[in-house]
Symmetry: C2
Subunit: 304 residues, 2 copies
């Protein structure tokens, strides 16, 4: 079974401050969190750009997780930098500084060997770049895609053109409401589905996830944690676990989607337990399966 | 099986405004929503007070649902009135006016025939009155209790004395954090459990419910609805369905608690579909069981 996953997104240096501590210029970015998370399930191929300041030890993080970095371009200049802060309400980051650097002129080039990847994840980048990725690849089984308020506000037409071509859109509840211009989440979800994607996965932070496909809804709570240290990358880690589990099962159906959402939630729950990638790079597969079983115990109830 | 439930709380005239319409002086109050909801599962006995302006047609609502109104005192004066407004974010009401009227001097007297009720729900009233109810009753199987920020702020000692004597505390997430003085919900829940209740049920509005007992956690999403017209009474309707299902099964264990939470969520999901008690007074038992099955479909996923 097990098929390969292609991810296109950002690799960055993150500087973070939470009520529990801080970290300066640690490895981050959507493609990074996604890759490491998905690597526990399936082979991953990454397309992103870093600058000449990107150290060998960070490349080792990808290699250690068998992530194919053929598509990770290193160019002259500084790597993308993001600085953010969280208050006690860990649901939303306050961006203090964004330096796009080499990411500003990023034009994803998909290596020939990647073009037949069957599972594709378009991380949260300019929707026009997401479209350019779709033009370069052969027909994958599943294309999933992330976006954000910045693009929905600034490039709505391009967002709509992109999501018309994806199977699964993975965004948060505020973005769902904004995209559909509708306050009720169920109506907003149906509005987004009418734009093209067959499935919409709505991330709700500490409140879990809802999946809509126009026929049924699936809801999963987030795993209740006593210690949430750093929510950075939780959304991409979720997407990585979700796509990883799908590619591992190499099955596209309601059953595999639901299990994928639980695996995604499991990975996200680990990710927030420590700073940056710390917990995610130090996981055992047995821990993942054990927490999956805890999710079952968390949500199980008997029939009527 | 099926045991009787005693509820002590408020019966009121509510004036409501939501983005979808408004209603003036309709029947409301915590004991009202709780009673009607629980009545679909078990016999209910109500203790509350109304004024001389309380019309016969409202008494008929209780009677139609076989709610025993022996304990519903009618006294000289005006019935409790509450006026509130909701914006598009239907999670929280803005109180425009509160007239306690006859409720201001309410001293719950439990009729002799009620004192051996095995399931007791203390609606959101002054914690000292909640304690006085506990002093009047024989040893029930389960005492559940609601409270609110107003009492936690103003009468913290009395709240703590009351919840030290209850089996199940049913409050919302903000109240849980406030009561334990802790931002993390899991830690806050454990802090509240340390105050006495064996079980804590945390209501999170459109995000569903979490149940803590110190050993395990149960999480259920809210039922996703396209039309939410009026959230008034959702919390008491939830508690009514929960206690009703418990009393009907007359079983006190993890299994019955989890099923109770789903039945409570089912009842709350019906309640918000129309104004006031409209939907709740017009339900068929088959609809309740059907939505319970939909909850199963909403949350089910296969083992790892």
């Amino acid at each position: 079974m097990t098929a390969s996953i292609l991810v296109v997104g950002s690799v960055a240096f993150d500087s973070l401050k939470t009520p529990f501590g801080q970290a300066d210029e640690i490895l981050g970015g959507s493609a990074t969190y996604f890759s490491v998370s998905a690597s526990y399930f399936s082979p991953v191929r990454v397309v992103a750009v870093v600058g000449s300041d990107f150290p060998e030890k960070h490349l080792d993080v990808f290699r250690k997780h068998n992530v194919d970095t053929t598509g990770l371009a290193q160019v002259q200049g500084r790597t993308f930098r993001w600085k953010g802060e969280y208050s006690y309400d860990l649901n939303e980051a306050r961006t203090l500084d964004t330096q796009l650097n080499v990411f500003e002129t990023f034009k994803p080039v998909i290596p020939e060997a990647y073009r037949s990847s069957e599972y594709v994840f378009l991380g949260n980048i300019d929707p026009e770049l997401q479209l350019s990725v779709l033009e370069q690849i052969k027909r994958p089984r599943i294309v999933a895609c992330d976006s954000m308020n910045f693009w929905i506000k600034g490039k709505l037409d391009a967002v709509k053109r992109t999501i018309a071509h994806v199977d699964i859109l993975i965004i948060n509840d505020a973005e769902t409401r904004m995209l559909a211009n509708e306050a009720n989440l169920v109506r907003a979800a149906n509005g987004v589905l009418a734009m093209g994607p067959k499935t919409l996965i709505v991330k709700r932070g500490e409140y879990g996830v809802l999946m809509f496909n126009g026929k049924s809804v699936f809801g999963a709570p987030a795993f209740p944690l006593e210690d949430v240290f750093d929510p950075t990358g939780a959304g991409d880690t979720f997407a990585g676990g979700f796509m990883g589990a799908l590619a591992h099962a190499d099955a596209v159906n309601e059953r595999s989607f639901r299990r994928g959402i639980i695996f995604g939630s499991v990975m996200a729950s680990f990710n927030v337990e420590k700073f940056g990638l710390q917990r995610l790079t130090d996981l055992k597969r047995a821990e993942i399966d054990e927490r999956f079983r805890q999710f079952k115990a968390l949500t199980h109830f008997e029939e009527v």
